[in-house]
Symmetry: C2
């Protein structure tokens, strides 16, 4: 088995030059060509692990998300890739499958693979176990959700104002019976969105009715039970604010099954954008999170930390949401 | 820095027991509790790389897909996770971003991380570089697309019959001017779907018109130019068969922009299912690939190979597609 020394000798360069080449630094083109040839001729395999131990860099970033089929998550990843791919970082994606145990396992998996940094969208805000990662000095940037018990850099959305703007728009269209299907109380973004809902009702002097406030898991089938419960009320709401993507889609499905035309029989404003939502008739009103931008900013903060710039830690970056207003919320005026 | 010996001593078990514990084998619960405590107390960090070298197992599977925002890809991954998660495999996902160079880089990244096996959906069928992986004996299972120059296990769909059934349905509804927006000629599935289209026209004695056969990249913005070109023909088609998810979505968008009602002004049958397609009015006719099942079967074949069962190699498993027939294809009869 050939070594880095053999490569250096054959390529007629120093071991340091080969090392720099292997670790992805720019070197003179003629040298890199000779090294490439030597590596091929000797069938030399650099051991990325040993490499990581030697240089303390693996040029690998771990990304941990709650669920791989969630459009919000994959759009965030696209933003991350946009920044890190051109810098030759390998990006390794793991899914926690909405499961805290899997989240802990996969975090320790990423830690053991000695990634240079980790971007995490936590499953919930309450349970998060990252002592080992912190102790090793591997930077973590959170996206979308903060967690209790740790200080991390984070890129999140202004959920309070996002939800507020949606509910305010519904109020301005003349609705007074406005329900919300929120997420689990232990999820940070869910708390914030509920706060936005309550604040809007309060600002406009609308009575808060307990029966109009439901919680649903932020999982694949979220919202189905809740929307049925709302529609079955003796005094049902005229408008419903659904606070994430699966709840929005599942609510739309239930309305269709019950032959309730969105924007006529019942008004709906959702959360998170997919290219298809605006192709419906009527298009769906939604609070849009700048998912791609979240990924871009998270990658940029991580790059800063990985280059040992610890200024302004923890940096909590809040991005504004955008409201798409359509006829899925009926004007009652 | 503490070693495995220190852990064994403190936990009062043999080094072999600690090793078995670290490598994920079942050991007596009392032992595993003592080892866990010892590991925590000593802050012992097992080196997964050394572990991999010692046992030849990393309990990690690499999954390489063309694009993370493609619903087909993420549904396949869900199927893979369904099988491998309960077995405690770490699943590492990489995206090639529709780029051959990135595909090669990420394959060698996965190889260098010494994964136990790799599931790949190749970017194209023509260029694929996996000699190193084959030489190291790391099993590869392909999904959706075969590649030239290699024999690999694969789970693919019956694309010829999938496309045939779609075009046959369109013909049976009385259409004769049927266009297809196919994929790039170098992609295996695209070739097969075009074959299905041609075979159906041929079986039903319908003249093949060159101007009705367009190719589009299988990328995010695929299909936009092609559908506009078809609609601008002097003698435009009455029905269009779009052969993957982005082409279908983008074609629907263009129709809407041009105020052409799907199923009335123009008929459309697409490929690949999303939960939203059947919520449109009219719902979208599509050829549905059993994406989750593809992932499940690919994971099962990979498990077999990783346990050194080389029987029936290469095992090419073909799954049937399903046709969803809706009013997005107008009846002309």
């Amino acid at each position: 088995m050939s070594t880095i020394k053999d490569v250096a000798k054959l390529a007629n360069v120093s071991i340091g030059t080969v090392s720099r080449f292997i670790n992805g630094y720019k070197i003179k083109q003629e040298n890199s060509l000779r090294i490439e040839e030597a590596i091929e001729q000797l069938n030399f395999k650099s051991n990325p692990m040993a490499r990581g131990l030697r240089t303390n860099k693996t040029l690998t970033i771990g990304v941990l998300i709650p669920r791989i089929t969630d459009v919000f998550c994959t759009q965030v990843i696209e933003g991350i890739e946009e920044i890190l791919n051109p810098l030759n970082y390998g990006i390794v994606i793991c899914s926690a499958n909405d499961n805290l145990e899997q989240q802990t396992e996969k975090l320790s998996y990423l830690r053991e693979k000695f990634v240079d940094g980790i971007i995490v969208m936590p499953v919930t805000s309450s349970e998060f176990e990252a002592d080992e990662i912190v102790n090793r000095g591997i930077p973590i940037v959170l996206v979308d959700r903060l967690v209790k018990g740790y200080e991390f850099d984070a890129v999140i959305c202004d959920n309070v104002n996002g939800a507020y703007s949606a509910v305010e728009m519904i109020i301005n269209k003349g609705h007074r019976k406005i329900a919300v299907i929120g997420g689990p109380e232990e999820i940070f973004t869910a708390q914030e969105r509920l706060t936005g809902y309550l604040r809007a009702l309060n600002d406009y002097n609308i009575e808060v009715k307990e029966e109009y406030i439901l919680h649903s898991p932020y999982t694949k089938n979220g919202g189905i039970q809740a929307i049925n419960q709302l529609l079955d009320l003796e005094d049902p709401p005229t408008a419903i604010f659904t606070t994430n993507y699966p709840i929005t889609v599942n609510s739309m499905k239930v309305l269709m099954e019950r032959n309730l035309v969105m924007g006529e029989a019942i008004s709906l404003c959702g959360y998170d954008q997919t290219e298809l939502f605006q192709m419906f008739n009527p298009p769906v009103s939604v609070v849009v999170q700048p998912s791609r931008e979240i990924g871009i900013h998270a990658a940029e903060i991580l790059l800063k930390r990985m280059s040992d710039d610890q200024s302004r830690f923890p940096h909590i970056q809040r991005l504004k949401t955008q409201l798409i207003e359509t006829e899925s919320v009926k004007s009652m005026i």
